[in-house]
Every structure is written in structure tokens, then in C-alpha cells.
């Protein structure tokens, strides 16, 4: 039982990270039907910028909470700007071309950004300060570290904030209507280009938050760290029903859990196989994901 509980905690933590990244995929897909391959790179860039700001603030003698929240906010803002730049340069001119050419442009951007990070930050891992992340609760043999608690609660907060943003504000309404019909929403006075940029910015900001959490929790970031979680999060987004925000959250948690439980109970080397087999099986029985993609209200 203790073993199960511990694995459950592990699964929820990993699932939170996947859910945050998957949201970016799903929002961008919902609004312009693009698999944004560069999204994993936003995640990596967020992790890097986070550690840069954090070590700077620490060296200036700022208290721990200022370091954490300051670098979190700055990194999210940075990635939002990066995403808007990528969108304007690489995707916007291709808005009316075939979807595959945008896909390829995204792939090119992904390679470009990854190597840009490598050139500016070096090939070595960059370590996060560990003094902020010590300690935890111990209940019998079950460990719940403060970091895990931090990750899960921050994720929950961001998810709630995102839901409020999408369903309760004007900009959320604009996003939903642009996702449904670009031409019609333009006719009623919604600026489609601006809405798309905002969607990119929000998705990338969430990825940046995930990047910082990963860096803090696991201890380091590396320039190519966006790739594997990127693919998993993409799978998670599709599993939930791509374009569907609730679906992406659920998909993220499912992929995280499956991975942890497969590694914990069956075999560590085949854990990704299980994740993908579950994905294929779900899609076989529900060809448009768990939540389905055409639940109009939740599509962004």
C-alpha cells in the first residue's frame, strides 16, 4: 500500500508536468490546426531562462520566495515573447498554405531553437540551485517532498487560471470563437491574428512554467530536454482529444500515471511502450480521443 501511494504521488507529479505542456499543444492545435513541434523547445527555453534569472536573483541575495516567483514570472513572460516571435516569423506567413508546410516550418524552428540554446548555453547540463528544494513530509515510508507539493499545487493553480481565462473573459471568448470559425469571428470584429498570437503566448507561458518545475524538481536543464517530454505531451494532447483543454489535462495525467505505474509494477524499459500502446488502444476505440475534439465549448 505504501508502495502504491508513493507511486501515485510520483505519477501525479509527472502527470502535472505533461498536462502543462500538453495544454500548449492542444490550444495551438485548436486554433490553427498545427502540431507545433517547436513547443517542446519553449519548455526547454523556459527551463533555461528560469535558471538564469534564478541564479542571478540568488546571487543578489534575494529571499527564496522572490527568487522562485520572480524567475517563474520572468520566464513565462520570456517564453510568451519567444512564442509570439516564432509565430510571426515562421507560421503567420504560411497561414494559407498546406498544413504540411507549416508542420515542416515548425520542425525547422524546433531544430533552430534547440541548437540556438545549445550555442548560447553550451552542451553541458545547467544545474538549478538546490537550496530552495530541500525537504518534505515523511509518512511512514511514503515521501512527499515540498517540490512535489509545489509542482502539483502550481499546476492546479495554472489550470484553474487558464479555465477562468478561457471561459470567463473576453479574450477567452475571442479565442474560442476564432477556433470555431476564423472568418465568422473576423466578421464580428475579432482580430484573428492577435488572438492567435495570444494563444501561442499563453501556451508557451505554461510550457515555461513546466520547464522551471522540471528544472527545480530534477535538478538540471539541458538544451535538448524539450524533445522527449514534447512527444509525450503531444501524445497526451491527442489522447485527451486534441483541441480540447480538459482533454489535454486528463491526457497528461493519464500518460504520467501509465508511465510511472508501468515502470513501478512491470518494467522500466518498456514504460514508454505501455504509454503508446494505451494511446493506440484508446484511439482505436475512441478515434477522436477521450473527451472528443468537437465539444464546442471547450475547444480553443
Amino acid at each position: 500500500m505504501e508502495y502504491f501511494l508513493q507511486q501515485l504521488i510520483n505519477g501525479i507529479t509527472l502527470g502535472s508536468v505533461y498536462a502543462l505542456i500538453a495544454l500548449g499543444y492542444t490550444m495551438v492545435y485548436g486554433i490553427i490546426q498545427l502540431i507545433n513541434f517547436a513547443h517542446g523547445e519553449f519548455f526547454a527555453a523556459g527551463g533555461y531562462v528560469g535558471v538564469i534569472f534564478m541564479s542571478y536573483l540568488l546571487s543578489q541575495g534575494a529571499p527564496a520566495w522572490v527568487c522562485l516567483s520572480g524567475s517563474l514570472i520572468l520566464a513565462m513572460a520570456y517564453c510568451a515573447m519567444l512564442a509570439v516571435a516564432v509565430e510571426k516569423v515562421a507560421y503567420k506567413p504560411l497561414r494559407n498554405s498546406s498544413r504540411l508546410s507549416v508542420l515542416l516550418s515548425a520542425l525547422g524552428m524546433s531544430i533552430f531553437l534547440q541548437n540556438g540554446l545549445m550555442l548560447t548555453q553550451g552542451v553541458y547540463d545547467k544545474a538549478y540551485p538546490t537550496e530552495l528544494t530541500q525537504g518534505g513530509f515523511e509518512m511512514g515510508n511514503v515521501m512527499l517532498s515540498y517540490m512535489q507539493l509545489f509542482i502539483v499545487s502550481l499546476t492546479a493553480f495554472l489550470l484553474v487560471a487558464l479555465n477562468v481565462l478561457v471561459f470567463k473573459t473576453r479574450i477567452g471568448k475571442a479565442m474560442r470563437s476564432t477556433a470555431q470559425d476564423k472568418v465568422m469571428s473576423a466578421l464580428v470584429g475579432i482580430n484573428a491574428n492577435r488572438t492567435i498570437s495570444i494563444t501561442f503566448a499563453i501556451g508557451a507561458a505554461l510550457a515555461a512554467a513546466a520547464g522551471i518545475m522540471v528544472g527545480l524538481y530534477y535538478g538540471s536543464v539541458r538544451y535538448d530536454m524539450g524533445f522527449v517530454p514534447g512527444i509525450k505531451a503531444f501524445a497526451a494532447a491527442v489522447l485527451g482529444g486534441i483541441g480540447n483543454i480538459t482533454g489535454a489535462m486528463i491526457g497528461g495525467f493519464i500518460i504520467g500515471m501509465v508511465e510511472i505505474f508501468a515502470a513501478g509494477y512491470i518494467s522500466g524499459e518498456y514504460k514508454d511502450v505501455f504509454a503508446f500502446v494505451i494511446l493506440i488502444a484508446v484511439l482505436y476505440f475512441r478515434p477522436s480521443g477521450i473527451m472528443g475534439e468537437n465539444v464546442d465549448d471547450t475547444r480553443v
Partner: protein, 405 residues
């Protein structure tokens, strides 16, 4: 070119450059020791200057400053085009093959090696072209079939000492079988769901190859694979037939050349057959095709399997040429690479795919001089190519309507 337009261009360039500086600065300028601007500025002004110069050229071109060059050049290009179109395609094809066949006589080892890699990817690209370019299905896991083919030949050669020429069809068949298995459960899915399923399948394949120690030797890879063999005349004592191993690069070059020619002809014939027209109908509008009596499910499955067969063939050759296979060669990045060749070259067009493969294999090799900047430049060029020619370098004549599912 109007004045407001002119102003607008420079304003957006200005905003872009400020934006770029803000993006660059945290990466280069913020260090625990303190903040500095000099190093960021050093990188930034070069980029800014280059971009301004390009914009300047672009505006001059728009304003017609280069007409004195572009007009005669356009005329020459036009007359060249009409002259080349006089000669039938088949003649160009033969000339192309003849030139390619001569390469090993002149080129060094390195060029031969790059040429062989190019041709492997031509096979792969043409195979994927059936799935993506003709039938219009997005496949992100094509490399799995390449891997299946490679391992099939590797294991048959090492365990049973079977000859390359026997294994070639077996490898193609195994890849086709794998495609049938995964295609049968996923062909009903639409566009991007199919993409993730194929991606997942490729990852599963790679992990099984990496983890099934008793069969594939896991990450250690399979060594001791035989090169293709051939019976050739031996003139030392009279004329006898002797078995030789095609180990030398210049000899194995011709094996892949034959495979490429075979693939080109096969794909060409497929494309212009009844089946090919059915595929193109599915690509343009699946519902309409179904209504017109095209069995869409089986046609898509057929496209998927036949594409995979070419991949398997290329894989068998890869194993025979490297004489070593390991799962590292079959990652998602390779799938993306092959897909890029198809899209970059021009979907559905055979010369386009060939050109795409040449570009994507030769470019990183040329960029080797840039060392660490190699992949950076490569990624940038890929995006730029798409921005300037979204339909690919040599798009097919029967273009796609929109490229939607």
C-alpha cells in the same frame, strides 16, 4: 511600392529587432556575476545589420531596381524551360542515371559515401511519398519500416547466412506486414490522430529493438552482417564465375543505384495506374472518393503497406552497407527528416522528392564546415525554404487543392 508600405516594413523590422534583443539578452547577458550588455550587443548588431540589408535588397527588388538583371534572366529561364520540355521525361531520366552511374569513377570516398546516403534517402522519400504525397496521410513513424527492414536482413544474414538478394524481398515483405498490422487498426483515423499513432508505433518498434536482448542484442546492435554478394566473371584461369562480396564503396554504390532506379520506376508506374488515381482521389476528398466507388479503407491500407515495402528495402540495404545496425539509427528525428524531404521537394512529385533528399542529406554535410552551427543553419534554412516555397521545390503538376485531410 508605396511610401506607407516602405515605412511599414522598416517599422516592423525595428520592432522585430528590439524584440530579438530582448530575447537574446537573458541568454547571453545575465550571469550570476552580474549583468552585461556588450556580448549580446555584439551578436545582435550583426544580425540586425544583415536583416536590414536583406530588407533593403527586397525593397529595391520590389521597386524594380533589378529589372535589368531579372528580365533577361527570366527570358533565358523561359527559353531553357521550353527547350527542356521538348525532350521527353524518359530521356532526362536516362541521362540522370548515366551521370549518377559515373560518380564513383571520379569522386572520392567521402563523396561516394554521401551519395550512397542520399540514394538510401531517395528510396525512403519515394516510399513515404506514396503515403503522404499520393494518399495524403500524415505518417510520422515511417522510419519504423526502415528499421524493420534493416533488422530483418541483419538477423537473417547473421543467424541463417541468407544472401542479400533473397533477403531483400523478405525485408520488404516484413515491413509491409508491419504496416498492415498497424494500418489495419489505424486507417480509420483521421489526419493527426493517424500521425500520432504512427509516431507511437515507431517509438514502440524502436524500444522493442532496443530491449529485446535475446533477439536483437539490444543497444549493442547486430554486427557481422554480410555485404551483398555477386557472381562475377573471373578471368584468371579461363572464364569462370566467382563469388565476390560487394564491400567496396564504389561497388555497393551500384547496388543502391539499381534499387533507386527500381523504386523510381515502380512508384512512377503505381502513380499513373488505376491505384494511383484512386490514391489521389482519396487525398483530394475522401468522402467524394468513397461515393465514387473507391474502396478507401483498402486503398489507404495498400498505400501504407506499399510505402512501407520500399522503406523495408532501403533498410535491408542500409544494414548490408553498414554491416552494423543498432536502434539509434531509427529515431523520430529520422522520420521527421524523411518527411521533410517529401514536403521540401514537393509532395507527390518524384523529381521533387529526389531533389529534397539530395538537399537534406547533402546540406548538413556541406554545413559540416560550420561545425557547431551546422544544425542551427539547417533548421533555419528549412523554415526559410518553407516560407519562400511552401509548395516545395518541384511541386507535382497535379497540385493538391489545399493539403487538408
Amino acid at each position: 511600392m508605396t511610401i506607407p508600405e516602405f515605412k511599414k516594413h522598416w517599422t516592423s523590422l525595428g520592432i522585430g529587432m528590439v524584440w530579438l534583443f530582448i530575447l537574446l539578452w537573458p541568454l547571453l547577458g545575465i550571469k550570476p556575476e552580474g549583468l552585461e550588455v556588450a556580448s549580446t550587443f555584439n551578436v545582435w548588431w550583426r544580425i540586425a545589420l544583415g536583416c536590414s540589408f536583406l530588407l533593403f535588397l527586397y525593397q529595391l527588388n520590389k521597386a524594380g531596381a533589378f529589372k535589368f538583371i531579372s528580365r533577361p534572366a527570366g527570358a533565358v529561364a523561359g527559353s531553357m524551360k521550353s527547350a527542356t520540355s521538348m525532350v521527353p521525361m524518359a530521356v532526362w531520366f536516362v541521362i540522370g542515371i548515366a551521370c549518377t552511374a559515373l560518380i564513383p569513377q571520379f569522386a572520392g570516398r567521402y563523396a561516394q559515401d554521401v551519395a550512397i546516403n542520399c540514394m538510401i534517402y531517395v528510396c525512403l522519400g519515394l516510399g513515404l511519398n506514396i503515403v503522404v504525397g499520393l494518399a495524403g496521410m500524415l505518417d510520422l513513424g515511417y522510419i519504423a519500416f526502415y528499421g524493420i527492414g534493416a533488422y530483418t536482413y541483419a538477423l537473417l544474414s547473421v543467424q541463417f547466412q541468407l544472401s542479400f538478394w533473397i533477403c531483400l524481398p523478405i525485408s520488404a515483405g516484413m515491413a509491409g506486414l508491419g504496416a498492415w498490422l498497424i494500418g489495419y487498426c489505424s486507417m480509420r483515423m483521421r489526419g493527426d490522430y493517424l500521425a500520432i499513432v504512427t509516431l507511437g508505433f515507431a517509438e514502440i518498434c524502436r524500444m522493442v529493438l532496443n530491449n529485446w536482448m535475446s533477439l536483437t542484442n539490444g543497444p549493442n546492435g547486430v554486427t557481422g552482417i554480410k555485404a551483398p554478394g555477386l557472381y562475377w566473371f573471373d578471368f584468371t584461369n579461363g572464364m569462370t564465375l566467382e563469388h565476390i562480396w560487394l564491400k567496396k564503396l564504389s561497388l555497393i554504390y551500384y547496388v543502391i543505384l539499381i534499387l533507386v532506379v527500381f523504386t523510381i520506376i515502380a512508384v512512377y508506374r503505381l502513380q499513373h495506374s488505376r491505384i494511383g488515381r484512386a490514391w489521389e482521389a482519396i487525398r483530394e476528398d475522401e468522402t467524394a472518393a468513397e461515393v465514387m466507388g473507391v474502396p478507401t479503407f483498402y486503398m489507404k491500407l495498400l498505400a501504407y503497406c506499399s510505402g512501407a515495402c520500399f522503406g523495408g528495402m532501403a533498410g535491408a540495404f542500409y544494414a548490408a552497407r553498414m554491416r552494423f545496425v543498432s536502434p539509434e539509427s531509427f529515431t523520430f528525428l529520422e522520420s521527421a527528416m524523411v518527411l521533410s524531404m517529401v514536403v521540401l521537394g514537393g509532395m507527390g512529385s518524384i523529381p521533387g522528392v529526389i531533389l529534397g533528399a539530395l538537399a537534406l542529406i547533402a546540406l548538413p554535410e556541406i554545413f559540416r564546415e560550420f561545425e557547431l552551427y551546422r544544425m542551427l543553419v539547417f533548421g533555419g534554412v528549412m523554415t526559410l525554404m518553407m516560407l519562400f516555397r511552401p509548395q516545395g521545390m518541384l511541386p507535382s503538376k497535379r497540385t493538391m487543392r489545399s493539403g487538408k485531410d
